[in-house]
Symmetry: C2
Subunit: 413 residues, 2 copies
């Protein structure tokens, strides 16, 4: 058969996603499947069972990442890998991460049932703890695999209850025997929902990210003066929450001021003593700024951070600014990006060149192997919420593109 005509089984992909969505299902149609939880273990067991059903060679590394490989005719050549993650946000969606794992599994199933001859081995992977919501930071296992994070550091991360990453990994039986360390990979494709509204708004089905935007996180700590609300005249106040509010407005106005593709977010705020009749004395918030353009980001930061100081000064508060994460924009492998684009066109789609605004395991793999991604639309642009959704047709479309990409890379010499 001409592999250009080969298609994945959309019903089977849907059924697999529906099975997975039962594990950690929430009342409003989402899932809570935190990394290394009982639900994570249950979903891993199911993934491993499905890999076994198609006679994959299964490797579990000592960070808990699961690799299922089908052999190629030249089995000593570096493999073509695809996958994503099984863990979810608390009350997150049914597609984020798991679509990329089930997509890769579906490619292997399709290759197996059609007895397709491939030159190189192909591997489906599920990376541990991508979300970073239970154990910070995000993408911890792909980071260790790629050599960007230390394994000891990862093992000693604790969840909000103080439980160690390694302890939880052992508890669910997924500290595997193989060291989490990169091996040669010929090509890595990650299939994922867009998690934004761009594809939907432009009425496109396949998105082709040219790379991942930069990502910069800050912790802002403001110290004012706590006092009784009633008896303290306005002029005597050093209200840390009012200062924070002004900073949040300033942070929100930055993209409008500097243009381009900048996005800024204050996601978290903590206020002390947080009592109705006490003037706030200590406020902390996080600040997230991203763009494809590292220079633009820097100019925006050079404008905004001194503004934070001015606002604090004006209100008699002290501000401390800590940079907690800084990753430059990361362009994917141009050849693989072209393969994704061309495969989509051959399948009759009108692919959209874009950037990935979110981090993915692909960001770490991109540092050590040729990497590209495939996006499909998120309905209403919603993600990390229970109503996160993607049509089954679009799920199939992205997987068909992935199949063609993997076959092409796997048949390269």
């Amino acid at each position: 058969m001409d592999v250009a005509n080969l298609r994945i089984n959309g019903n089977r992909l849907q059924q697999s996603l529906e099975e997975m969505a039962k594990i950690g299902a929430t009342s409003r149609g989402g899932v809570t499947r935190l990394a290394l939880s009982d639900e994570d273990k249950q979903a891993r067991d199911l993934f491993v069972k499905w890999l076994k059903e198609i006679d994959c060679e299964i490797t579990i590394d000592d960070m808990g990442s699961i690799f299922g490989t089908l052999p190629g005719s030249e089995n000593n050549l570096p493999s073509v890998m695809s996958g994503s993650h099984i863990d979810s946000q608390p009350r997150g969606g049914r597609f984020d991460g798991i679509l990329g794992v089930m997509g890769a599994l579906e490619i292997l199933r399709t290759i197996r049932e059609n007895n397709i001859q491939i030159n190189r081995p192909v591997t489906a992977v599920a990376w541990t703890n991508e979300e970073g919501t239970r154990f910070s930071p995000a993408m911890i296992a792909s980071g260790v695999w790629a050599g960007s994070l230390k394994k000891d550091y990862a093992y000693n991360r604790t969840d909000p209850d103080g439980k160690r990453f390694e302890g939880e990994l052992i508890r669910i039986g997924y500290k595997g025997p193989s060291p989490a360390k990169r091996w040669p990979v010929h090509a890595y494709y990650e299939y994922h929902i867009e998690q934004g509204p761009v594809l939907e708004s432009k009425n496109r089905i396949i998105g082709v990210p040219k790379g991942i935007v930069n990502l910069n996180w800050y912790d802002i700590y403001i110290e004012g003066e706590s006092n009784q609300a009633g008896p303290t005249p306005m002029v005597n106040r050093h209200d840390s929450l009012v200062a924070a509010s002004e900073m949040i407005i300033a942070a929100n106005e930055i993209p409008n001021k500097f243009g381009g593709d900048l996005v800024t977010t204050v996601g978290r705020i903590d206020n002390e003593p947080n009592s109705v009749n006490i003037i706030p004395g200590q406020t902390h918030f996080t600040f997230d700024i991203r763009s494809w353009n590292d220079g633009l980001t820097q100019r925006a930061l050079d404008n905004l951070l001194p503004l934070f100081k001015d606002i604090a000064d004006k209100r008699g508060c002290i501000v401390r600014i800590e940079e907690t994460w800084r990753v430059k924009h990361s362009p994917f492998d141009p050849k693989l990006v072209r393969i994704v684009n061309d495969s989509a066109i051959k399948l009759g789609f009108d692919p959209l060149e874009m950037t990935s605004g979110a981090g993915h395991d692909a960001a770490y793999i991109n540092q050590v192997a040729p990497t590209a991604m495939i996006f499909v639309p998120s309905i209403g642009g919603r993600s990390h919420v229970e109503i996160e959704n993607t049509t089954w047709e679009d799920c199939k479309a992205g997987a068909d593109v992935l199949l063609q990409c993997m076959l092409q890379s796997a048949n390269e010499a």
Copy 2:
């Protein structure tokens, strides 16, 4: 002896306050003595012990309020009462509340040791749960005593751990046999720290509040749309925290816009899901507005609350505004206010007419009996914090004024 020359014992008052400050003492010089906690019980036991030492008749009502009375020669006449509260804020100060209880005790001790003949009985009182920080609302026991709050309502209030007020009252052994219900009171004086910076800034020692400002509390709930921070363009966002920040700025500008003695405070904010890389979808904050002028307050609210709606609309968010507390300004008894003022002048002070910006048990008692208050300076205007402080000299000064006021009222026919 001429009682006009009678003075309280400043050292004894200081020692009593220092003893009390040991109960629930924090590492930074404050106290945590939450209502109906073990620390509250320990402090109550000490107060009762000291009342017994001067042969007071002790009554504990079924809201846990403690009354210690010295008889007058016409013991069937309504008594002259003074007191405040024993409970504190979490990591609160050593003077808020307890100064008024120890002050009243010191008056009784002074009368007893000097064998002063008084016409009417005099009573020192400690009201349960004034702060409202463990069991909302504030001033719950004086409210029940005055008939403004229902006892069943009070009994069923729960703390953040779900423990009932009545259960905790029984647990610490302070559900007394006497029904919490007002009896005739000839005059009620409450001695308290100012909890604001006005006396200090004007270099005065005695403040004479003409009454308590109005108090209005609102809960503001904003619903936006939660989404992944990176992939969501700014224009597609409905960020509830940005909307809240604009509202907080607007609320903070109201006193400047409307003038007078208005003060506004946003003390508490809660944000969901409060995660660094997720656009906030639900934000709640509290709004507190106070003034002596009820009409001015209403005009400010008529301006601000529609502004909240406009801000929410502009950002595609929904806002819900709930009024949770509304008390009109409450003028004290003019005759008692004059007695406080004249007593201070006779003692050589230059008393300052002012208002009380904070609520006090006096607010409820003022509804059923002639009431006035005496303020002494808070260093730096700080209160509800561990560094809350008042000099021992000022503590004595206020208690001397209180003594003269109580003697004058107690000797009235």
